[in-house]
């Protein structure tokens, strides 16, 4: 059980360090501000889609700023430990490299959880505010109030946390062998973009007018790259009365957890052989 305690304390320390960084507060304020600003766009008449428009701001903010936070914070915390030699002090204790790396990842992932929760909170507040006004208007016109599922928003938040966990785990895997800060950031962002476009490879793999070689290549890429588009469930969870089935949500979460585990394992493998 000692290894779990060590991982817990490393994660806690990483979380504290990350949460005190100005970068986290800056991105949080920027994302929340952007979501709140969407309220001021209500003088444009978007009709029924107004709430979706506001939600899109929020969803986009969570993914965009969350991804930037996941990549930059992970790389920063990892390289700071190596450059400042705090990693030397830590690894000279009875701490395995895998425990150290996993603890660092968990700390960042917890921070991302706080980020997503706060962003979803702001989005929920903005949606509730506007939905209330629109419900009054709709009532005066004898129309049904707009549908917003706040429980669905909470589920969406959990799925985004899993999605950002994959991004952080990808960054951990890249950082484990990268020799410079810049390289780790650039490669991680490239990996993020590729994962975001994974469906393109899937399309190629299933395309009929594609050569066998391209098909095989695209098929392999599909298996080696996580599909981040799978987590674009905001509209279905928040605005569709039918929502998503528990099985679909469970599958998406499971998919996220498996990818996180695989990527962190890759990171641990590379870090095992790294000379620091």
């Amino acid at each position: 059980m000692f290894f779990l305690k060590k991982i817990f304390w490393i994660a806690r320390n990483t979380f504290t360090e990350a949460a005190r960084q100005k970068f986290f507060s800056f991105l949080l304020l920027l994302g929340a501000g952007l979501t709140a600003v969407s309220l001021s766009l209500t003088h444009f008449d978007f009709g029924d889609s107004e709430l979706k428009f506001i939600a899109d701001f929020g969803f986009g903010g969570i993914f965009l700023f969350g991804s930037v936070l996941a990549v930059v914070t992970t790389v920063q915390l990892f390289f700071t430990e190596i450059e400042n030699r705090t990693a030397l002090t830590m690894l000279a204790k009875p701490v395995r490299r895998g425990e150290f790396l996993f603890g660092k990842f968990l700390g960042v992932w917890c921070l991302l959880g706080v980020f997503v929760a706060l962003m979803c909170g702001v989005l929920a507040a903005v949606l509730a505010l506007r939905a209330g006004t629109l419900a009054e208007v709709a009532g005066a016109r004898g129309l049904p109030p707009p549908f917003v599922d706040f429980g669905g928003l909470a589920v969406f938040g959990v799925l985004q946390w899993a999605r950002l966990g994959i991004v952080a785990a990808m960054t951990v895997a890249v950082s484990s062998f990268a020799q410079t800060y810049l390289y780790a950031v650039v490669v991680s962002f490239v990996a993020l973009i590729i994962a975001q476009l994974q469906y393109v490879f899937a399309d190629f793999a299933s395309g009929e007018k594609v050569s066998f070689g391209v098909k095989a290549l695209a098929g392999t890429a599909t298996k080696l790259i996580p599909n981040l588009q799978l987590f674009n469930t905001g509209e279905a969870l928040v605005f569709d009365p039918a929502g998503l089935s528990a099985a679909a949500i469970g599958c998406a979460l499971g998919y996220g957890v498996i990818w996180i585990a695989a990527l962190v394992f890759v990171g641990m493998w590379f870090f095992r052989f790294r000379e620091i």
Partner: protein, 285 residues
């Protein structure tokens, strides 16, 4: 002496470490067939100029690097074994710690990492802080510490789990002579508690004062290893100390040369070192 005590704290045999550098992977040999042993309870100095292979050797001892060939055993166990590190305390060169933690929080954090039982963490932390004279500053954030205080809190984190082997890499780098002497006192205290200390330092005076044995490395190779007497005594020369009241004038020296055939190379007055003067007159009460 028990069987356990007879096992060397560190035993290095034919240790070689090559690094691959650059795009072409050119081989750079940082340690070349290095062999030495450090017995339990002694203060051992590892010396050498920059780039001599000291840090590489230390990292292999700590299990942070894998040797290309050769072996390194700590208390009889392979240095790559993580469990053996619970018996080691390490202070890296120019240490940097989490600035947002207080000194006490930092030492507690490392105590937890070292496997100190939860019920003993507070006691061990206070002991380590007291040993290094950091109790008064323990509530302050580490980022407000001076260089000397950083070194001392570094020694505290290295000592918090009461290790049997303490490795200090340049513990006095950048510290004033008084702070340096305090670290020297801490090392003496460790020795008196039966700890084995490996000291890497460029302050040769301090090494001379503290170490029982030394090893000197250069360009990755071990140049010499042994007690200070073995390494420093110049058997081919003798030094006579003339007591007060006898004036050793140039004429007298000339007479001694001519009459008795003494080979007197130079005559000088004994003097204390500046460091000693500084310590005797300015040391904190």
């Amino acid at each position: 002496m028990s069987e356990e005590n007879r096992i060397p704290a560190i035993e290095i045999e034919n240790l070689t470490k090559d690094f691959r550098v650059g795009m072409r992977g050119v081989k750079l040999r940082a340690a070349d067939s290095v062999s030495f042993r450090v017995e339990q309870g002694e203060v051992f100095g590892l010396l050498g100029p920059n780039g001599s292979g000291k840090s590489t050797t230390l990292k292999i001892i700590l299990g942070l690097l894998r040797p290309t060939s050769g072996s390194c055993r700590i208390f009889g166990k392979n240095s790559a074994d993580v469990a053996v590190r619970s018996r080691i305390g390490f202070l890296p060169e120019a240490p940097y710690f989490y600035g947002y933690l207080s000194g006490r929080e930092l030492v507690k954090y490392y105590a937890r990492m070292s496997g100190v039982p939860a019920e003993k963490i507070d006691e061990c932390t206070e002991d380590a802080l007291a040993l290094t004279g950091m109790t008064d500053a323990a509530a302050r954030r580490v980022k407000t510490y001076s260089k000397g205080m950083l070194q001392r809190i570094g020694v505290a984190q290295a000592m918090v789990h009461d290790p049997d082997l303490v490795i200090l890499d340049e513990p006095t780098a950048g510290i004033d002579p008084i702070g340096s002497a305090e670290i020297g006192d801490a090392i003496r205290a460790m020795k008196s508690r039966g700890k084995t200390v490996v000291l890497c330092s460029h302050l040769l005076g301090q090494i001379e004062e503290l170490c029982d044995r030394v090893a000197i490395m250069n360009r990755g190779k071990l140049v010499v290893a042994g007690t200070l007497d073995e390494v420093l005594t110049q058997r081919g020369k003798q030094l006579a100390v003339i007591g007060a009241g006898t004036q050793l004038t140039p004429e007298l020296v000339e007479k001694l040369r001519e009459r008795d055939g003494l080979n007197i190379e130079s005559v000088s007055h004994p003097r204390i070192s500046l460091e000693r003067y500084f310590l005797e007159n300015l040391k904190r009460k």
